[in-house]
Amino acid sequence: MNYDELYIDDATLTRFLAGETSAEEQLKIISWLDLSEENRKRLDQLEVVWLEAGNLQPRPVAVSPKLAWDKMEQRVDAYEQSQKTKKHRIIWLTSVAASILVILFVSRIWTSTTAPLTLANLTPIAVTDTLPDGSIVALNANSSLEYNKQFGKNNRNLKLHGEAFFQVKRNAQLPFIVDAGIGGVKVLGTQFNVKIEENSDVAIDVVKGKVQVFCFNIVSNDTITTILTRNQSALIQQSSRKILPKKQLPTAINWHNNTIVFNDTPLQDVFKTLNEHFNIEITCNDNNINALPLNTIFQTDNIDEIIDVITSTFDLEYTKEGNKYTITTP
């Protein structure tokens, strides 16, 4: 047999391995295999590749990485483009925000240069004043109010330090807002007392009308509000940032007009109130005395007079040393 006649190419051998050859062709291949070791080796190797390829797990799939990349590139480019416009938008927004800040800052300077108004009471006794909107405020000792020139025109916002009693002139268009640090009070027109305690708690006592007490809750990042009406009180607690209901002490709300009402108030609390309002120090180590309830109305700014009344009411004695009073049983 002629070697050339019997030349079998890879295409035929592959067809053979793929099972696409006829019986006649197969006989031809057998003859070809017998011709040389080389031929045998060739088919042998093709077969190993064919069989091994069939074992691939996972099996290959007929995908086109090139076409797939074209698709991916489009997607990536579109994404990058959108990121760029987004960045532009952010820059634009940032500049808008910056200009707003500048405007705010300038207006702040402007208002502050034109009207940095502080109403401070550095005296040991309460003072009463009228605010630009016609509301009356009684500022307790060592307390102050801050407000801007526009107060009463386009706002009625106040910042309070210490304690103040407000008689707010009704204005439904401009709410009267007292900022007391961790929260505050918003009203349209009413009478109420706001006192910032040393621990930053804020005590609110309403005498007349309706107020809204608010508190910024830093945890939930929102504002809690509560409505208080006549003779109701609340405490904005600094530690919990909650608005807690509170029993109204009659004494607390009348300091501003030198009227102090004690209504079954234990002397211990009476002393505390007097200490605060007159900037004095009443000492009493007798718990029996401290528990005695007091029912009376004082309308005086003379502390000695008040101490006299109390001691004589309960048959007590007191000694005075400067602004220190010591109460004892006779």
Binding site: D9, D10, A11, T12, L13, T14, R15, F16, L17, A18, E20, A23, Q26, I30, L33, E37, R40, K41, R42, L43, D44, Q45, L46, E47, V48, V49, W50, E52, A53, G54, N55, L56, Q57, P58, R59, P60, V61, A62, V63, S64, P65, K66, A68, W69, K71, M72, E73, R75, V76, Y79
Partner: protein, 189 residues
């Protein structure tokens, strides 16, 4: 194997390289689960796109390769769950378990020879590779492939011969030299 790709600082040309290098195998891997080439490709595209979008922030402890294959598997399994056809799911679940046993997502348990064959297949020109895969893996007859691709049966035959011939020459050094006894190949006919 090239140097380890740092995905956090990858640029587009390097990303293209990574994509083209792994696309075929990832599709094969995805196909293993979803049994549909189009779906498999879509999955792989999405994985790569996500990789690009998150490239700066992504933290890859292992290699990018195993990250990609893991992502594929998770995406494929999610998809299968989403399809939620119980019977289908069972089948896929089986294939997953089966697959889990033999391969840890990154083809690492493949024999050297299998790895080389896979690489060689991926090196084939596109049309040739497509014909070869349809014949070898989809079990199509030459006639069927020819009809499907709108080419002559002679072209299929030629391309098949060139494909297998190429694989043989690529792997020559790795093929066993022991001669097999071939008679069994004819006995079936």
């Amino acid at each position: 194997m090239e140097a380890k790709t740092n995905i956090n600082t990858i640029d587009k040309p390097a990303f293209e390289l990574l994509f083209k290098q792994h696309y075929s195998n990832m599709c094969a891997y995805a196909f293993n689960f979803v049994k549909d080439q189009e779906v498999a490709e879509e999955l792989v595209q999405n994985i790569f796109f996500k990789l690009w979008v998150n490239r700066k922030s992504i933290e890859i402890e292992s290699s990018v390769e195993s990250y990609l294959f893991r992502s594929i598997r998770n995406a494929a399994l999610n998809l299968i769950k989403h399809i939620n056809i119980r019977e289908e799911y069972k089948k896929h679940k089986q294939s997953e378990d089966q697959w889990q046993e033999q391969n840890d997502a990154d083809f690492s348990t493949e024999t050297e020879l299998q790895k080389l064959i896979r690489q060689a297949i991926n090196k084939l020109p596109e049309q040739r590779r497509k014909i070869f895969i349809q014949s070898r893996y989809d079990g199509l007859k030459y006639r069927e492939i020819a009809d499907k691709m709108g080419i002559s049966i002679k072209t299929v035959e030629n391309q098949m011969g060139k494909a297998l011939g190429f694989l043989r020459t690529e792997l020559k050094d790795y093929l066993p030299v022991i001669l097999l006894f071939f008679s069994h190949l004819f006995l079936d006919e």
